[in-house]
Symmetry: C2
Subunit: 189 residues, 2 copies
DNA sequence: ACAAAGGTGAACAAATCTGTTCACCACTAT
DNA sequence: ATAGTGGTGAACAGATTTGTTCACCTTTGT
């Protein structure tokens, strides 16, 4: 990956997330990154392609952070309960909400702006959400094939979405901890 | 309210919800409604004002529908459990998700596009969410002033948001019923 | 020394967006 | 009849959007 290309994607990701996808024009990304317009269109055929590249980057960030969190938690031999190991997701969320870089979930937001289910951007967002739920499912049971595991993973996924929206639209950053307690109750019921 | 003005708001609400707020141009609203541009700008100073009017309409729709649902449920003297009376919210959601007019929550979506917390559109969306939670709280206990009631209402609110996002981004329309069962477990724990 | 690759800057095209203006039309109440 | 109200249509302005093109610059590998 050429450094200029990477820099464009990094900058675009931040601006898209903070200001929205339609509201963030190409020119702002160029000004903020210091890259020329000709270079942008040498690396990306269109704005849509840049959006997809930014989402791809974000997807990788989220997945790797999540997996690392869970793995770190498992390193402590005291943590054997798969339920508790999954709940670290919400600690992750809490940190994110309280960081300076929280402007809602890229994928929820982009889904709102590109709502057509046939649009490749929308499809990408839906896939991301599915991957996250699948990771949760594999954590709950080593073989994540059972119906019950899938159901539980969807429940956790639903709580994650709810916490993100609450934190974003109402500024309720404690929603991650509210969701965590709810998840504990649900999973142990 | 002049009929042309009302018609503009009705049309704008549908289009904004379906295609997004930036993506929906004034011209599309005019073409779809059959109203002239001069008339639009006689009734609204700007597109932003039209957006706010559309959100106001949607707010009233949601609040009145929700209240009616709860009242209707209470008419059956068998329903005395406040928890069960609150859970009809999720039946409401389920119907909405499975209707032809479901394109996500206007207020979540508009919050994504106008993310600045000082923007009047963003503020309106946050207020709407707060009103919904307050309605839930008053249903849980007649005097909704206790800390515990507020907490429970926030939990229900979180489940509602989660169900909406799941239904919208992943097309999982059954999320309303998943959330309903979770709500029952939480409230009776 | 020189060619190739990657990047720049600026001008440009073409579409699209919000918002303004104004002459004109239809209806209704007096 | 006539004045007032609300609406239309069309042209127009001005800003902003995405995307293209091209002459030129800089660095790097041979």
């Amino acid at each position: 990956m050429q450094p200029r290309k990477q820099h464009l994607i990094d900058t675009a990701l931040i601006l898209f997330n903070k200001f929205g996808y339609h509201a963030t024009g190409i020119d702002l990304i160029l000004a903020e990154s210091g890259v020329s317009k000709a270079t942008l269109y040498k690396h990306f055929r269109s704005k849509e392609e840049l959006i997809l590249a930014a989402l791809q980057l974000r997807h990788e960030q989220v997945v790797s952070k999540l997996k690392n969190r869970i793995e770190d938690n498992k390193k402590n031999p005291a943590n054997t309960d798969p339920v508790e190991n999954v709940l670290v997701i919400f600690d992750n969320l809490s940190e994110w909400f309280n960081s300076e870089t929280f402007f809602g979930c890229n994928f929820i937001n982009v889904s709102a702006e590109y709502a057509d289910p046939n649009n490749s951007i929308n499809i990408f967002a839906a896939k991301h959400k599915q991957v996250i739920v699948d990771i949760i499912a594999t954590q709950l049971t080593p073989q994540a094939d059972s119906k019950i595991t899938q159901q539980k993973a969807d429940q956790i996924g639903l709580l994650v979405e709810g916490a993100i929206v609450m934190a974003h639209t109402r500024g309720m950053k404690q929603s991650a901890l509210i969701a965590k307690e709810m998840a504990r109750t649900i999973l142990k019921a």
